[in-house]
Each structure stands twice: as C-alpha cells, then as structure tokens.
C-alpha cells in the first residue's frame, strides 16, 4: 500500500533535489551580482561624500577669505542640505 506513495514521493524528492541544485547556483550568481552592485554603490557613495566635503571646504574657504559674501555661502549651502 505504501509502495506507490513511497515511489511517488521518492520521485518528487529527486526532482526537488535537482531543482534545489539549480536554485543554489542561481542564488550564488545572484549573490555575486548583488555584491558587485553593492560595492559599486559604495564607491558611488564615497565619491558623493567626497564631493560633499569638498564643497563644504570650498564654501568655507571662500567665506573665510572673503571672496564671496557669507550670505551667499549660506544661501548656497543651505540649499544643498
């Protein structure tokens, strides 16, 4: 009585194993891609942060040296934030 069920279930398990293997590989590939994407985004975030800091420095410099009125600096920097 149990044999047909057992056979059927064994077949299903075999198929499941194969599907899982393929899923594994696909997920590994997915992880790799996502990892690269994250790293790229991190680079972009670094660049953005650098640019922001640079701009703050420039604003301060201009304001400190008096080339640009402080009001303009504040207006511009406040717009950025």
């Amino acid at each position: 009585m149990e044999n047909p069920h057992t056979e059927r279930q064994a077949v299903l398990l075999e198929r499941m194993l194969k599907n899982l293997d393929k899923c594994h590989e696909a997920i590994f590939e997915l992880n790799r891609c996502v990892d690269s994407v994250c790293n790229a985004n991190a680079e972009i975030a670094v660049a953005a942060d650098l640019a922001q800091r640079y701009r703050k420095n420039v604003a301060y410099n201009l304001e400190a040296t008096g080339l640009v009125p402080s009001s303009d600096i504040e207006k511009r920097t406040s717009g950025d934030a």
Binding site: E2, H5, R8, L12, C23, C33, E43, A47, L50, A64
Partner: protein
C-alpha cells in the same frame, strides 16, 4: 519615488509542533471519521501533494531568479557602469588633489602627506573652524584615511622610508587584487595591468594563488632621483594599495644583478622595469601582480613626460640582452622601450590566394559599366573639347529657339564620313538609315522623335565625318543653320558599319532620354518604323538631321585622335546591354 510594493506573501501555515500525544496531531484536510487505513492513505496523499508543492515552489524560485532577477541586476549594473566610472574618477581626483589615499573598509592608504585643501584663514576662529573642519573630516573619514604610520603602505614620495614594519606587511596581505574596493581606487594603469596579468595567469611561472601579494620592499633610497619621485607623486596617490610597486624608475641593472639571490622583493625592486620570464632568470619567482606592476612601470616610464629623459630616440639597435625575443637566452629582463617599433602589419601573402588583394589595396568596387559613355578613355585636346562644347551649346540654344527641324551649320566637307565613335555614344540605330534606298535622303533625314513631355529632343546626326578629327562628329549638324537648307549629302552612309547606324540619340543611360525608350516600344520591328515609332516616310520628310545630345558630357573625354581600333566598339563590348543596343532591330526588354 517609492517603488511599488509587491503584495505580501501568503502567511505560512502554523508550524507543526511535535507533541507527545498522537491524539493532538491535527492534520488539516484529513477525514478523521474515516477508518485508519483510509486516513493513512489520505495522509500519504497529502504528503505527496505537499512534496509536489515544494518541488513546484523550488522550480518557481529557480525560474524567477534566472529569468527576472539576474537579468534585471545585470541590466542595472550595465546601466550604472558610467556612474561607477565617474565615481571612480572623482575618487581618484579627490585623492590626487589632496594627495591622500582613500581607505575603504580595511584599505591601506598612504599617510596624509600634505593637506592643502583648506587654507587656514587668518584668525583663531577661522583656524579653529578650519581645524575643526579637518578634524571633522578626519574623524568622519576614518573610513577614508588611516593613521599616518601604522598602515602606511606607500611611502611618501619625498621620503625614504626603510623597510616596512611587520604590521604593514601583515596588513598588506589582507586585500587581494580581486577585491572590488581595490578596483575602485586603482588607477587605470593598474587596472590595465591587472587585466593583462589575468591573461598571464596560465603561464608556468605564475605564482600560486596563495602568494597573490608580493612582499613589498620599498626602493632603496640610494637609487631614487628626486625628479622621478615627484614625477610619480600623482600616480602614487592614485594607486591602489593592493598593488605593490616601485614608483621609482631605475636604470636597468646589469645582468649580474639578476643573479642576486636575495629576497624576491628586494631584487625585484632593483629591477623595476620589467620582470622577465623565469627561464631567463635564476632562482627568481614572481607573481603576476608584481609583473603587472612592473609592466605598468614600464608603461609609465614609456609614457612619462620627458622630464627625466629628453633625449631623442637613439639609433643604436638594442643589444641582445634587452631583446626578449632574441634567440640567445641572454635577456636580462629589461625591455628597452627607447626604441619603440611600430606594430608590424602582417602582410597579406597574396601568393597564397589569387583573389587576395595586393598590399595596400582597397577592395575593388564593382563598377557598373554603363554604356556607352565610358567606352572611350582618351582625353580630347582642350581646344577640341572646348570647340565641341561650344558647338553643343550653340546647337542647344539654336535648337530650342528654332525647333526640331534644324540644320547644322555647314562646316567642313560635306559628306564626311561619320566616325565610328558615333556609334559608341550609344545612339540608337536608325533603321531607316539602313535602307539602301533612302541612303541619300536618310543621311539628311532627321528622326522626328516623338516628343515626350519633359524629354529632351535628341537629334541624330547623319552627317558622316570622313575622319576629320578636327570636327566633331556632330559638328556639321548644328541646328543653328538654315533649317531649310538641304542637309549635306552623306552619300556613303550605307558604307558605314552597321554599328554606325543610329535611330536616335542616346547620350547616357539613366538620362531623361531613357524615358523615351518606353515610348518607342519594340522599335525596329518593322522596317518602316524607327525606334521611336516614327514612320520612315516622316523621317524622309524631315530634314533636320539628328544630332546626339548629351554628348557634351563625353566631349571632353572623347579623343578624336583615338582610333577606332583602340577603343572597343559597342558591338565588341561584352556587356549584354551593349550587345543589345547594337542590333538594328533593337528591342527593349524592360
């Protein structure tokens, strides 16, 4: 703009908790009233169904990942590539401007040698603000800058540091060239070298992966000319810390140096230009990374501005010791780039293939030999050409003003034999001319061509030139003459070859005149019909001679001095079109 949220997944059924009492087990969907055997059967079936669902879910997972997720991510990465490039550039830009090295999550960076980004303003408040700013940056940028000494990987170009400490050596081994952060801050040169090195990984002398990073030993101070150090300042700051290299260009050492059996790094940096294959060295091992570095150094030295070497290229051939491809295995490991040879173009051995093009020859273009304009290749003398052009212009104007029945001005001797070149111009046959009975009149007959709207009226000149090359073949047929004057008798029209017979002027293919072909239809089918359907009687009545129009285009190229034998006649032309047009009974196959 928030992305559209997908619908939440269905809640999972509660997890089955094992119980000691089998009576507490509740299987949904089970008919508890059925006998046990049936219940067992039902349970088995439920198990099978559950397994099927699981298998289906896993298959769906795999399908979704491969068909939706991965392509989307790859599309995203491809699309964001320019952004990454820009970010990389700006990072290197900021690094270079501040002469600092960026550290990202364990990266090794050079000490902040000179920070001149924010000039300190006068006054303490400003100074404090400045310092606060820098400190703020320094504090926030722990992920950006490191302490000065401990993790200093690249010695400042202006200093001459001794061997690195053990901590530095240990820290160097952490990152691998494959890490993405290394790629993020490396210069294009180092990236190029890395890519080139990947092509060399299969070489026998490639280092095992365990020794991916070479041991870095900074160059010896005694061999550092200051000019060269400054030259590589920028390059140093933009280098990836993962790439160990010698920023100093040294003069190529002698071969004896290669036999130095000291540590790899020390000797490596005493020979910074290029690392030879191991066959030419003794007891030296190198890593692909080091080779990449040296190769990059080579490139940098080759591409460096001539601050250090303003000498012109020498004409001295490189010695064998510097020729990597020399038969003798004496290559000292240094490639002399002073004599840069252009890449040899592989000459195509045309002898192998008959169809091969000779060197430097572009693929031939299949020319469409149109008839009959390109039959003659000669070039008429300028005065003759000018004369012809002028005559043609006059004829045109006269024709337009006078009408169709025009006579060419008498010039030269009447009855000149028409040169054979007339036939080459592609004029159509004049079936009327072939009739011997009407030779005398047909010579003067003008083919009264049915005028098609917009089609130019072409005349055929039956005048025959007897070889007087001074006159154009249609020189006597200008319509500017007295239209009522009898045309000069050719007389020997029939003596001409059949190819001289024309029924009409066909200047060049593709001209507007071609449209009249269709009007003519099956010309020449009847002896009394001309090409354009004009009756022979009408032809005989008309007196305006035929003249070929459009031949002024040919005038400059037609060489009246050229003999007919030199120029292939129309009937000798191999083209079927040409062969067809020579037939007196011309039939158009449109």
């Amino acid at each position: 703009m928030p992305l559209p949220q997908p619908e939440p997944p269905k809640p999972l059924p509660p997890r089955w908790e094992p119980t000691r009492d089998p009576q507490d087990i509740h299987v949904p969907g089970l008919d508890t009233s059925a006998p046990v055997a049936e219940q067992i059967e039902q349970i088995e079936q439920l198990i099978t169904i559950k397994l099927q669902n699981m298998d289906e879910n896993f298959a769906a997972i795999h399908h979704l990942i491969t068909t939706r997720l991965l392509p989307a991510i790859k599309r995203y990465s491809v699309a964001s590539e320019p952004i990454r490039e820009a970010a990389r550039f700006w990072i290197s830009f900021f690094q270079a401007s501040a002469q600092v090295r960026m550290r990202m999550d364990g990266d090794l960076s050079a000490p902040d040698t000179s920070n001149d980004r924010t000039p300190t303003a006068a006054g303490d408040p400003d100074a404090t603000v400045t310092t606060a700013t820098t400190h703020d940056e320094a504090d926030d940028g722990q992920s950006f800058r490191t302490a000065q000494n401990d993790l200093s990987f690249q010695p400042p170009p202006t200093s001459s540091t001794p061997l690195l400490s053990r901590s530095q050596m240990r820290a160097m081994e952490g990152p691998t060239p494959e890490s993405s952060w290394a790629a993020s801050i490396e210069s294009p040169f180092s990236r190029l070298d890395r890519e080139m090195g990947s092509l060399r990984l299969d070489e026998p002398h490639a280092a095992p992966p365990s020794a991916s990073l070479p041991r870095f030993v900074p160059p010896k101070p005694r061999l550092q000319p200051p000019s060269q150090t400054k030259e590589f300042e920028f390059k140093d700051s933009s280098e990836s810390s993962g790439a160990a290299y010698s920023p100093i260009l040294r003069p190529p050492p002698t071969h004896a140096d290669t036999t130095n059996s000291t540590t790899n790094s020390s000797t490596a940096f005493e020979r910074p230009i290029f690392f030879p294959p191991p066959s030419s060295r003794k007891g030296k091992t190198t890593t692909p990374l080091r080779e990449n570095i040296f190769r990059r150094n080579l490139l940098l030295s080759a591409a460096a501005p001539p601050a250090s070497s303003a000498t012109p290229r020498r004409a001295v051939p490189s010695p064998k010791k510097k020729n990597p491809w020399s038969a003798q295995k004496q290559w000292s490991g240094i490639v002399d780039l002073r004599e840069q040879q252009p890449p040899e173009v592989t000459t195509y051995d045309s002898s192998d293939d008959e169809d091969a093009l000779p060197a430097g020859m572009s693929p031939p273009v299949t020319m469409r030999f149109t008839r009959p304009s390109d039959v003659r290749l000669g070039r008429a003398p300028a005065p003759l050409a000018a004369q012809r052009v002028s005559r043609g212009f006059i004829a045109d104007t006269a024709r337009k003003s006078v009408g169709r029945h025009l006579q060419p001005p008498p010039s030269g001797t009447p009855g000149r034999r028409r040169p054979k070149r007339d036939s080459i111009d592609g004029s159509m046959f004049d079936p009327a001319a072939t009739s011997s009975s009407s030779n005398a009149s047909s010579s003067a007959a003008v083919l009264d061509l049915p005028r098609t709207p917009g089609a130019p009226n072409y005349y055929y000149s039956n005048e025959q030139d007897d070889g007087d090359d001074e006159e154009s073949f249609w020189g006597e047929n200008y319509p500017g003459q007295d239209p009522n004057a009898p045309p000069p008798q050719s007389g020997s029209f029939s003596d001409d070859d059949s190819d001289d017979d024309f029924a009409g002027g066909v200047p060049v293919p593709g001209s507007a005149f071609d449209s009249s072909y269709d009007h003519a239809g099956g010309a020449g089918s009847e002896a009394t019909d001309t090409v354009f359907g004009a009756r022979l009687a009408q032809l005989q009545q008309t007196t305006a001679p035929l003249r070929i129009h459009g031949t002024e285009l040919l005038a400059e190229t037609v060489d009246p001095a050229a003999t007919d034998e030199a120029v292939p006649s129309v009937e000798q032309s191999p083209t079927p079109w040409a062969a067809g047009i020579r037939r007196p009974e011309y039939e158009f196959d449109v």
